[in-house]
């Protein structure tokens, strides 16, 4: 149900490429000033959704409005382009220009004069740690190019920033720097729409997450809500050598009535989500496993959005 606080409203949005349903009738809303993530594996329909919302693609069905402007009409597209900033998944910068020239080039597209564009670019590049580099961007590292890619989406201070996999290919430290930047955008009053296949990223920066798979939204909520929905707390993942042992373990765990969710997935693997602590952990193991020889591998961790995805689809996000 949409409200006056929703800056993006998507209803039954559909996009086909030939026989493939890239986006298959999705619905969601994004509130003003929040960080919203579309989380899903590669090919789930995240980028296609973003491309429709940023007016690059025309939807085959359904409706989407961005700040009240319809993405399907030319008038709406023109209005949307004035208020959004887009950081594409691919690094699209001019290699023969400097970081400042690239950023100023984009700023001027939004009717800024040279002086204003240079000033905005300078402040932003300073924040992103690129101000010191005065050489051409062809000499930049992958991480620096990605930060510049982000700067080019933000230099005109858009109302809504669409960031398509902004940390793809970055090392963990660089990714965390980008997360900080994304969080700071919220403080500036910007609405951020993010696509990612990294559940840690979605968990760390998002106010709301929509999990998308095969063109459909399969779950929506805050990261905590989603994790609670499938059992907040802890997760045991057990790989069995034998299918019969797996089936028997599932039966026993369900009888114990301590697990919030039990899902079999992959090749003889079991995911058990439960809210208790170590005591419950040992109880589950001792009551459900006949012999340690039955176990091929096992892990114990805190519940994450990865587990939510696994419970929902029977597949891992990472393996996609």
């Amino acid at each position: 149900m949409s409200s006056v606080n929703d800056v993006i409203i998507v209803k039954d949005l559909t996009k086909h490429f030939g026989q493939i349903n890239a986006v298959d009738g999705i619905d969601f809303e994004v509130r003003i000033g929040e960080i919203f993530s579309l989380l899903g594996p590669n090919g789930a329909g995240k980028s296609t959704t973003i491309r429709m919302l940023t007016t690059v693609l025309t939807a085959d069905g359904g409706n989407a409005t961005v700040s009240g402007h319809n993405t399907a009409t030319m008038e709406g597209k023109c209005a949307i382009r004035r208020i959004i900033g887009v950081c594409p998944q691919d690094i699209t910068i001019y290699d023969d220009l400097t970081a400042e020239e690239n950023t100023v080039f984009v700023a001027k597209m939004y009717d800024m004069n040279s002086e204003e564009a240079k000033e905005k670019a300078s402040v932003l590049l300073e924040r992103l740690g690129l101000a010191a580099r005065k050489d051409k961007t062809k000499n930049f590292s992958g991480g620096m190019k990605r930060r510049l890619n982000l700067a080019m989406a933000l230099v005109h201070e858009p109302q809504i920033a669409f960031l398509d996999e902004p940390t793809a290919g970055l090392d963990p430290q660089a990714s965390r720097t980008v997360w900080d930047i994304i969080r700071s955008l919220k403080d500036l009053g910007m609405t951020v729409v993010l696509t990612t296949h990294d559940m840690d990223e979605a968990d760390a920066v998002s106010d709301h997450v929509a999990i998308i798979d095969e063109g459909k939204i399969i779950a929506y909520g805050t990261p905590s809500e989603l994790k609670e929905q499938f059992g907040s707390g802890n997760v045991i993942e057990i790989g069995f050598f034998d299918q019969d042992r797996l089936d028997s373990a599932i039966e026993k765990i369900e009888k114990l009535d301590v697990a919030t969710k039990v899902t079999a997935f992959g090749e003889r693997k079991l995911l058990v989500t439960f809210s208790g602590g170590m005591k419950t952990f040992f109880r589950i193991l001792s009551e459900s496993i006949e012999s340690v020889d039955d176990i091929e591998n096992m892990s114990f961790r805190q519940n994450s959005l990865e587990d939510v995805f696994l419970h929902l689809t029977g597949r891992r996000l990472r393996s996609n």
Partner: protein
Amino acid sequence: MFTVMFYFIFGTQEIPSTQWTIYDFALPGLIIYAAGALTVSSAIYFANEKSKGMLERLDTMPIGRKNTFLGFIIAESLFGVISIAVMFLIGYVFMQLYFVNLAALFLGLLVAILFGIQSVGIGIILAAFARTPESANGIAMVYYIPVIFASGSIVPFDSPIVYVLPPFWAKQVYLQLTVLGDSLTDMMVSGSSYPAQVIGIPLWGGLLVVIGLTVVLLALGILFFQKKTTF
């Protein structure tokens, strides 16, 4: 480079019983050859903008495809205009090749520039069908090299096929106006060397063909490229 190289090969070879050297006739062809190379560079440039995603990024900004195209075409054409101007400067100022008068020289320059812009149009058409800059380069070379030779721009080629090839019209109009001193109402000739068979349309008609081809090929280029990059 071509201008200088060919000058040392043909520059002193006179055409018997005329006031011209072979190079007076060769330079217009070479200039058209150089302007035609914009087909290759613009095909690569447009395919690169497409495959790198810059075109899509620009599509999310409030500038519109019309302005994006205009920017791309101006950038490519400007590069071509500078190259053509440099060739004119080397040929007609430093090497003192023959031209009728300054007005005729200016018309020749205009025709060469028009052909350069026309070549950008062809480059855009080819880029529309290319997935990568590498394939755009390949497709453009497959088009450009045979066409430039079959049009008789580099060496005389007396065949009816020249009439359907854009470089022929540009080179012939430029050659006749600037070197042979024909007026716009004089008849065009079919070959790339003088004297040759008369076509039967006046030079202004040839000039109209050059202008028409430029407009049509640019429009087709934008149309195809737009169609292939809009979903």
